[in-house]
């Protein structure tokens, strides 16, 4: 029988009631070849140290709960194979977020940013039921489909160097989502969102590191969305300036 492989998982621990600052704790555990990083954390929680705190839910890269930094890179731990790492794997909470406990980060700041971009269909006037469904062609849907794939895992925020230096920055996911609704033919809220986009910390705060798109597990390409939003806003602003008709679509 093959000998069980062992790995050392180095985990950030932080108890707000006891610890002044986060610290590292190592666990040597037996691992299976098909394990994801999340399986190792769950093993520690279930068999070694029940005090370990981490978020997870769906285990199939859909809910976006289990984002953590693994060996320095933001990853969805339920999608990231443990076998891709060496004998020692370091798991830390997502960078750029305050830490609530161990590997759990405070997402309030993230949710605040989402609210700002009004991530829902805005209409100047509600359509009546008699008007029937709003039609949208496959080509029109294809314009924003990619940006609607975001699962709010916050990996892009953990990878963004602008967030570190510009605390007011809306950030990749929120802008990508706002841009997604701006591209939606059923939506009429571009003017409202573009005001938010052009504020301090809006789209023009992005200096295009592009790392958000690198780490995105759903290939949303938020950095592309931000650059597209910049271009659309410049055209929108110029159109309004020349035609004197305020915010153009």
């Amino acid at each position: 029988m093959a000998e069980t492989q062992k790995k050392t998982i180095v985990v950030t621990r932080f108890d707000p009631d006891r610890d002044e600052a986060p610290r590292q704790q190592s666990y040597e555990i037996p691992v299976e070849p098909d394990w994801k990083v999340l399986d190792a954390l769950n093993y520690i929680k279930d068999h070694v140290d029940p005090t370990l705190s981490h978020r997870w839910s769906c285990r199939m890269a859909v809910c976006g709960s289990c984002g953590m930094n693994v060996d320095g890179s933001p990853k969805l731990t339920c999608k990231d194979a443990l076998s891709e790492y060496g004998d020692t794997v370091e798991v830390t909470p997502l960078a750029n977020f305050p830490v609530v406990r161990d590997l759990v980060v405070d997402i309030e700041g993230f949710m605040d940013r989402f609210q700002k971009v009004k991530p829902f269909i805005l209409r100047a006037k509600e359509l009546s039921v008699e008007a029937g469904p709003t039609r949208q062609s496959p080509a029109e849907l294809d314009d924003f489909r990619q940006f609607s794939m975001c699962i709010n895992c916050m990996l892009c925020y953990a990878a963004c160097p602008v967030i570190t230096n510009e605390p007011d920055f809306l950030g990749p996911a929120a802008i990508a989502l706002g841009h997604r609704y701006n591209l939606d033919t059923r939506d009429e809220g571009q003017a409202e969102r573009n005001k938010v986009f052009r504020e301090d910390g809006g789209i023009f705060a992005c200096s295009y590191a592009g790392e958000c798109s690198e780490v995105c597990p759903k290939h949303v390409d938020p950095s592309g969305a931000i650059q597209q939003a910049k271009l659309a806003n410049v055209i929108d602003w110029l159109t309004g300036l020349v035609l004197r008709r305020g915010e153009a679509r």
């Binding site: 890179s73 977020f97 294809d142 953990a158 160097p161 967030i163 570190t164 592309g224 650059q227």
Partner: protein, 146 residues
């Protein structure tokens, strides 16, 4: 962009929560690892852009101040330090522009007017080709001047 603000403000909630939290860390590996290196190097290209712009302004100023001033500027072009700086600036800015071209396709919407966006490779090749042609034309003109 304010760089003076402390890192601990990043992703702070609008209203303070009841739980004490540990301050956030900046992204691991910044600025020395992975894609961050290219990002920082790209930003450093601003040094060359700024310095070359000053040198161009100096040449323009000399043009408006008589033949002697212009001759002095031309003579300074022979200085080895300037030649080395200009060679470095050319290499850096070429890389700077080519990286910009590589990033360009992602900034374009899927449809441009009624047309589908051209393939990324075609956009990059087109921009790079145009850059090469313009550089050669400018080089030929300057070579003729020299």
């Amino acid at each position: 962009m304010s760089h003076a603000r402390p890192v601990v403000d990043a992703m702070k909630p609008s209203k303070p929560g009841e739980t004490r939290t540990a301050p956030p860390r900046p992204p691991d590996g910044f600025p020395s690892q992975g894609n961050y290196r290219a990002y920082v190097a790209f930003g450093f290209g601003g040094f060359f852009l700024f310095t070359v712009s000053l040198l161009v302004l100096r040449a323009v100023w000399a043009l408006g101040n008589g033949e002697a001033a212009w001759n002095r500027v031309q003579a300074s072009f022979q200085n080895p330090i300037y030649v080395i700086f200009h060679a470095l600036a050319f290499l850096w800015l070429s890389w700077f522009i080519l990286r910009l071209f590589r990033l360009f396709p992602a900034t374009q919407p899927k449809r441009i007017g009624p047309f589908q966006r051209p393939p990324d490779a075609l956009l990059v090749a087109g921009l790079s080709g145009a850059f090469a042609v313009v550089t050669l034309i400018v080089a030929a003109i300057l070579w003729g001047c020299a």
